[in-house]
Symmetry: C2
Subunit: 200 residues, 2 copies
């Protein structure tokens, strides 16, 4: 299949980030997730933690979000400023090289390119709740509540900037339930799809 960019959108706790990373390794191409955050931090001067959270979460419409940058960034809120910088960086990366991009509405940002495979990874709530405790440890907040809060923020962010419904099959070429296929199974299947000579 003639696709050089793979975007991975994912429900929190579904293993989508790990799948993206392992797929990129197997394909021998870079995976932009934390690396994208670092590049944006250098470029915008915003804190990594802020980019990590706000780059995918519900946009702030509070007047304070303007106040903190003194309305100095072309009159944009920090959320909109970050969205613009993130969009430009994603387009630049896709133009430069074959890569995997995790999250950050990359499917939508790159919608005009023909060389992009858009993937969405999800899993039932119970499986994701178990996984986030294994991977990120316990917190004071109950796991299912953590999932719902994170996914709700991602969905609102996606809707706000793309006017599409997050997690709707129509927005992706392929969606996979990682609880059925497993992390490795998802990586293998995507690798099979991307490299199978029989398909284009």
């Amino acid at each position: 299949m003639n696709k050089k960019i793979i975007t991975i959108s994912r429900e929190f706790g579904s293993g989508g980030r790990t799948i993206g990373k392992q797929l990129a390794e197997k394909l021998g191409i870079p995976c932009y997730d934390k690396e994208l955050i670092e590049k944006l931090a250098e470029q915008t001067g915003l804190a990594k933690k802020y980019i990590e959270e706000q780059g995918e979460y519900a946009p702030s419409t509070s007047p304070f979000s303007y106040a903190f940058v003194g309305r100095g960034v072309n009159g944009l809120s920090i959320s909109d400023y970050l969205w613009n910088e993130q969009r430009k960086k994603i387009q630049e990366l896709a133009q430069k090289e074959a890569c995997v991009i995790v999250g950050r509405c990359a499917d939508y940002v790159l919608r005009d390119r023909k060389d992009v495979l858009n993937v969405f990874i999800h899993a039932p709530e119970a499986d994701r709740a178990r996984r986030i405790v294994e991977v990120y440890g316990e917190t004071d907040t109950e796991p299912k509540k953590r999932l719902r809060e994170k996914d709700k923020k991602r969905a609102i962010n996606y809707k706000y900037y793309t006017e599409q419904e997050w997690g709707k099959a129509d927005n992706y070429h392929l969606t996979l339930d990682s609880s059925l296929f497993g992390i490795e199974g998802c990586v293998d299947l995507l690798y099979h799809i991307l490299t199978d000579k029989g398909q284009d």
Copy 2:
């Protein structure tokens, strides 16, 4: 992969029905679509055309839907009566043998079984509009309008009986854009998933 029942849900014009049929042939198992309608017609005495349309479309809540069966079928509307019979028939088929079942909320009906792979096939509107003209011919109604009407009815029917959103990735193990993979590509990929010895 240890799945013996495959349910195929699909957007109108996406080729999902054809994919289901070809996959079943390749696996050497029956595909229930028209065959299911015929069985239901025998069993219920309802016309095939009625079952074909109403079994997947928006439920009728008109008092006439009761009047036609004289409120005689345990006081159910024809829609609810058909839903019940359809549900029982799908459960019976799944119990009996490995098979592919196209449409009719089979994913939801069989949700308690562990041996079911739920697939959703979709494609962009422009591709589906082209396909329905090729497959079903022209009608007085503009193709995109035909698509939207059919899909809207399917979505309402699904929501009414399952309380889930039709076409949302979460409801399926796998969703595929048939305009990218092609009919044959979808069949091959599903066959690969179902028969690959490396996965379970």
